[in-house]
Symmetry: C2
Subunit: 618 residues, 2 copies
């Protein structure tokens, strides 16, 4: 029986015991502490941070990446990466309501400055105005607008309050103007120059992320997320469209669920920074186009049947109030542009974030989820396509697939001796495979010669190199007539089946064929690709060599592959804080040429051939 250690949480003075080697995040969650974790315990998001006040807990590699030297010395650690090996006394910043802990959180987030000069067009200006008099009979409104070069219109509610507002503050006010709309957003008493905020939302089918930014500095002040509550109506876009079609109030319900989640994220930002909703003046939205339809209450049902027509692809601006998003009553909701029904604002925002639309080099952006979306091109021309890749890379449709959470095998490697090594999220007993685990398994089995070019798992141990001493042979099993390869055996064995390999082939074949068609359209070969951007979590945790080995991409040098994380969210932030970036993404959506793969007669042929594993032996 393993050693037990004592964990003490200072916020509520509770103590509990945890086994040696236990994952600290999970131990805390088991005790009812609601620590957020966006990345599923991958040590990426930094949300599960704790402060180790006493006890031995050396920084992990993830800690070193996320925290400054000073923070490490203060004891900041990612609880998701901590294996308990001592009695610990902890502070948990995310639980704290006090100012001091907020300040701590702030210092971390202040670092997340988006790499562009802030120019949202929303400005706060402190005005100490001349009092009116015999020589100065200008109207209240002109007394303000004369301070600016452009002309600004007054919303009715601001005009109605204006005479009193000016006089009760003796003509000293802080004014918020929006250069994009040429409108005033607020007139407030006193001087409070720096209180202008915005939010960027990334509405994923599964997860809704909200970023709170300071429009003045461009700093990200808050990152938070929620499960997309529409999940209860269907896990993927197809089932949600079906729900809308089959339920009279389906669209309304979808919309109110997502708006509610957004308002929770707004409230979270407001609470975290002790600001007010009225101080949030703009919100940008990225997401796939179906999510944007559901957000705005626009029927998406024409998107699941040919010719797949969305109601809109252009950027949209609506009044926040009209949509029920509770920011400043004059605030605007800005949807970034989509390209087509299945190449959404998330992809356009990703292009923006990579900058490939301004590059002389040939870039490929691949965003893989249930659909795989890809954009190929350079400053002169760009092509984009979407494939129904199937959800294998998200761990779905896989016999023992699961999302990337504790217990999922996230990485697999097989050495030359045939020894298998597993990496399991949370260092727990493995209970299944997530997307990266399945990709690794297939990749390593190809390398080991256990999967053939057409995707078949070998049936003969003799096919192995040095078969007599290779332990892999024992892992090949026959499961009720289906070949399989086991990764872990205990009460709950984990294995990969022939059918799982087929799912991977379908997914990667669709993506690869799509890329090949884009290359043809562009008139280039794979060798000419200068850079491949992998967007989304996919790119963050997959091993490039196995991506290449299973052939998701045409053959390119591994060092051309770059992970860009949540490029969509980053693009949304860029468009939020910089008007030029908003113009840029609009131009991208106008310039990229959409290629509808499902109408291409050559797609099927390419798809069939792309399903094979050319790196495998015959």
């Amino acid at each position: 029986m393993p050693q037990e250690y004592e964990i003490e949480v200072t916020e509520d003075d509770r103590k509990f015991s945890a086994a040696e080697g236990a994952n600290l995040l999970e131990a805390l969650q088991e005790q009812g502490y609601e620590l957020p974790s966006l990345c599923g315990g991958l040590g990426l998001c930094g949300k599960c941070r704790v402060k180790v006040l006493a006890g031995k807990q050396p920084p992990t590699e993830s800690d070193r990446e996320l925290f400054s030297e000073e923070e490490l010395e203060r004891g900041m650690r990612l609880s998701c990466r901590v294996e308990v090996e001592d009695d610990l006394v902890l502070a948990i910043p995310s639980l704290a309501q006090g100012k001091s802990e907020e300040a701590t959180a702030k210092s971390d987030l202040d670092e997340q400055i988006v790499d562009v000069e802030p120019d949202s067009g929303i400005k706060r200006v402190v005005l100490d105005l001349e009092n009116p008099g015999r020589g100065d009979q200008r109207s209240d409104a002109n007394r303000i607008t004369d301070e600016f070069e452009g002309s600004y219109s007054f919303p009715l509610d601001i005009m109605e309050d204006l005479p009193e507002k000016l006089r009760e503050n003796d003509y000293s006010v802080t004014v918020t103007i929006d250069d994009s709309s040429g409108s005033l957003l607020s007139v407030e008493g006193g001087s409070s120059q720096y209180e202008s905020y915005g939010m960027a939302f990334d509405i994923g089918t599964t997860t809704v992320a909200g970023y709170g930014l300071d429009l003045e500095t461009g700093r990200t002040l808050n990152v938070d997320s929620r499960e997309n509550p529409q999940g209860k109506f269907g896990a993927d876009v197809v089932s949600r469209i079906k729900y809308v079609r089959e339920n009279e109030d389906g669209l309304d319900r979808m919309q109110s669920e997502i708006i509610r989640a957004i308002n929770e994220l707004v409230q979270g930002f407001v609470d975290s920074r002790n600001i007010e909703r009225k101080d949030i003046y703009r919100a940008t939205f990225v997401g796939n186009n179906i999510m944007l339809h559901l957000l705005t209450g626009v029927d998406p049902t024409h998107l699941d049947q040919a010719p797949y027509i969305p109601a809109f692809t252009d950027p949209q601006t609506f009044d926040a109030e009209e949509l029920g998003v509770k920011i400043n009553s004059g605030g605007k909701i800005v949807l970034l542009p989509s390209l087509a029904g299945y190449v959404g604002a998330d992809v356009m925002a990703g292009v923006l974030q990579t900058g490939m639309h301004k590059s002389d080099e040939l870039n490929l952006l691949v965003d893989i989820g249930t659909n795989g979306e890809m954009v190929l091109g350079n400053r002169d021309k760009m092509y984009a396509a979407s494939t129904a890749a199937g959800p294998a890379f998200e761990g779905a449709n896989i016999e023992q697939g699961m999302t990337a959470r504790a217990g999922a095998i996230s990485h697999v490697s097989i050495d030359d001796e045939g020894q298998l090594e597993l990496e399991v999220i949370g260092d727990k007993r493995p209970i299944g495979l997530c997307g990266s685990g399945i990709v690794d398994t297939v990749g390593e089995l190809i390398k080991a010669g256990l999967i053939g070019e057409k995707g078949g798992i070998v049936s003969e141990k003799s096919a192995l190199p040095r078969p007599t001493i290779n332990p892999l042979g024992n892992r090949l099993i026959d499961m009720e007539g289906e070949k399989a390869f086991w990764l872990h055996v205990d009460n709950n064995p984990v294995f990969v089946t022939q059918q799982d390999v087929r799912e991977v082939q379908l997914a990667k074949g669709a993506i690869k064929a799509g890329i090949e068609i884009l290359l043809e359209e562009f008139g280039a070969t794979a060798e000419e690709i200068d850079r491949v951007y992998l967007a989304g979590a996919f790119g963050n945790y997959l091993r490039k060599e196995n991506i290449m080995r299973i052939g998701v991409l045409p053959r390119v040098d591994l060092d051309k592959i770059v992970s860009v994380g949540n490029a969509a969210g980053q693009g949304g932030k860029l468009a939020l804080i910089n008007r030029g970036k908003m113009d840029e993404v609009n131009k991208i959506a106008r310039d990229v040429e959409y290629v509808e793969l499902s109408f291409r007669s050559d797609f099927t042929e390419k798809f069939m051939s792309a399903m094979s594993f050319p790196e495998a032996g015959e």
Copy 2:
């Protein structure tokens, strides 16, 4: 006892008797028929028209001015000008709900085409769109916007209905676009190209007029008016401001009253043309600036004390929905610009209508009501001022003053023999004087030598020319120590007192002094004025010679004086149907220089001296 005639009304088959010589409008009103009359029975507005189907009723001069030959032959008459002298069978178009009578009304109003090419920026376009297909995957929104050169945004409610609207109409729709806002205003099934309307409102302190126009043709389709219901809170702007100051909900009540009246006028237009509220896409508003503040619910209380600061003077655009004006839900309310607190959008619209801002000649626009507003200038420079002229010219503050309605002496002339001739509205027994009556009386008395240069009514009959035979002498009376001149004697005598003359002097002195200061500012003399525009009812019914004789204006040739009627309302119509005109009036308000007379030390001196009657003998 006078002869009685029988009047029959075909609309309800009722018959009643009326005395010989009775005014037909009044006789009808006494019987409960609600005939509208905007001009108070002056034969100007044409609202009280009836159709004489049987009976002898030759056309009057007013009839000849208002009706075409054909209409006269059909029996159209202004009931306010009819003296009953036969049995009559009548049709009353304003009572009729039927189509045929509407058509009659239409043919009259069709003539009222505003003299500018319609270019409101609001266009209806019938689109027979390509169905989507494999080669055409454009979004629903782009399928529409691609038909236009510019870019147009979709309001949320239109976007939400768009997918269904397109499909249920097989992609044949009529779209309304607004080039001013770059927004779509409607997407409707089928083809209905010509259903786009607008309204121009002239919000007077006393009367609210609403003009319904066809935006496509620029035609005025409907004219209607209401008493300004704010009247119950105070007859003039000063008492309304006082009401707002002294009642917590005063501003709200003022606003809801005027909005209700506007919505009644909207409904009247809708009913008269069998259109729908949604087909009215824009409304312009002119009025004095206090009326515009009360309309928008903006506190006007800083306008009645120096330095007289309004909340706004610039043009304003608000959502009709937000203001509660029930036109198209995406329609806009446009307030024309004011120049200052007391030189309102009505005056700016008047300048627009006269075109004086584009003239090489030196023009003077004078609009006289409770305040007198005046604008002097040409294309190079313009100056404007407002004086608290006092309400004498509206018949108020005059011992026996009254508004211009039946029984008011509207014109007075005295011939060389000293014979007096009165003109009474409705040809009734006189019961008082309206503004034009008092001006005429004072003017004629000056001419007859009965009022001296300083305004005193002569006390000596000997002052009269040919005193022994001049019957005017008998009209000079002493009323409890105050000199007076009687115009009519019966049970209810009508006379003009010395104090009345003083009121006229105050009013005309203020206006004349204001004009003199504007002339100084401009650097011109009165002789250099090329044209004087008299705006409002004032100009319509005053005799130029008496305006000049009492000295409301500096001395100019009579033929330089032009009455321009309701120039404010006309200007509002221009700005409604033509964007260039809206730009023009905005430029006018920016370019005209405002002169605050109450701050001018030289005003009092000029005012004192302008009160005299230089045309009178010493």
